[in-house]
């Protein structure tokens, strides 16, 4: 499998990354290099082996359902670009 320039620009759009056409070519080559490596991995016979979702074979630890976080709104909002009435303000979004 290898990616075209169109694939690269679509991935960039989905990831909200702006790339120039020169960068797109370089990125395509790099991504295709990664895919070639993946193809190498896929050549290994994995019949009868359950897929892993994580590199470490341990299971999730759970925490008790208790409220442990204090209200730190003022500290968090001190570094926000813009706030009002306790809200974070962002450029207008309308669906």
């Amino acid at each position: 499998m290898s990616l075209s320039l169109d694939d690269v620009s679509r991935i960039a759009r989905l990831a909200r990354i702006e790339i120039s056409s020169a960068e797109a070519e370089r990125t395509r080559d790099q991504l295709n290099g990664i895919l070639a490596f993946v193809a190498q991995l896929q050549a290994v016979n994995t019949d009868g082996i359950a897929p892993m979702a994580h590199a470490v074979d341990v299971v999730q630890r759970l925490r008790p359902d208790t409220v442990t976080e204090p209200d730190r709104r003022d500290a968090f909002q001190a570094i926000a670009p813009e706030t009002e009435a306790g809200l974070y303000l962002v450029p207008k979004v309308i669906e």
């Binding site: 989905l14 979702a53 759970l62 976080e69 974070y88």
Partner: protein, 479 residues
Amino acid sequence: MNPWEVVIGLETHAQLQTKSKIFSGASTAFGAEPNRQACAVDIALPGVLPVLNREAVVCAIKFGLAIGAEIAPRSIFARKNYFYPDLPKGYQISQFEIPVVLGGGLTIHVGDREKYVHLTRAHLEEDAGKSLHEDFHGKTGIDLNRAGTPLLEIVTEPDMCSSAEAVAYAKSLHSLVTWIGICDGNMQEGSFRCDANVSVRKPDAPLGTRREIKNLNSFRFLQQAIDYEIQWQINEIEEGRKIQQATVLFDPDTGETRSMRSKEDAHDYRYFPDPDLLPLEIKPDWIAEIKAGLPELPQAMQARFQVDYGLSPYDAATLAVTRASAQFFEETVAAAGKDNAKTSANWVMGELAARLNRDEKEITTSPIAAVQLAGMIKRIADGTLSSKLAKEVFEALWNGEGQDADAIIEARGLKQMSDASAIEPIIDEVLSANPKSVEEFRAGKDKAFNALVGQIMKATKGKANPQQVNELLKKKLAG
């Protein structure tokens, strides 16, 4: 005959009743000031890590057990990637390939028909924050208190074929999640919201293209939106246009659905396993422990009501719609006696439900206690009260005008007359005062008989036993 078949599947988001969020220790309490309950994890500051809330998993297991599903021994959390300001991480933590609950289903009742709706899956995920589009100098305000609230997304197979079935399913699901205590069911606050996938096709044709109606937060809107959407799709196809797959919103003011403007890649979520979270393991002994603590479930209770009390499936389902209503009914029967189960059911579903509804009260705060209602029902059963007098007693009990039915009957002299020697003279009086009706009856007019009964009941102020009046009157007229 309608040549169109309708296919509906529902996705429901039930907000789980935990104290803290699914991946952080911030509070989930409703109604706090904006962003007071949004911690570093919820607002996605760099370097934070999610830690899974045990109670959210317990809720999912309870649900899986209640619908007869498989609980996955190992399930995986995945990232669903999309950009929106109320989702600060740029992805929602959800489950994709291996959800925690697989299969199962719910029995629904539509009229006197029963139907089993299959569930595809239910998975754990986090809620997003809220965007406020009111005017903040042309900007949007973001409140992240809701971000990270645990949700169980419950997905059905496309098993329903009318808005009535969809509503029956949603009501049944709502009843179940509140029954087992995993969701408060408050639809106005958004704790229980439905998305409906709707398509139409000719019988035996392949499935039509579906459109998804988002965020329906009342049973009425669910029905209106689906009905409008079905008609809209049929009209489009009949006018020669093709249905395009789309996400639509329902506008309660116009009663119409309209397509959201969305780019074609909007639905490319690029799911992948979240490297911040390890597989969730659920061992059989944990499931067994939770199973042992589950209350009797609505369907088991409905079946028991039918067997133990001889109720119809409809009555059993109506009473067991909430645990509180089922409990009230059982307390009433316990005090009134099993022989009076049907009468008890009728009063709980009828007069009591109507009165509660009118005064906007819940059954848990009913002014009439179950044992008071039972006392009144016993007096109906032994003939002391006619149904008309019972309504008067009911009203008095409701208004707190007496401690129990017997005290009210005594104080107001409401006892039904069942003594023939007291009723007969009244019948004689009525007959001699209404010779015309008597004539008409003898001439074969049945209506005249009812008119005479009415007069007698009036003369006794409704206290005569109507059945007895009928019998005595028949005898007199025959004689």
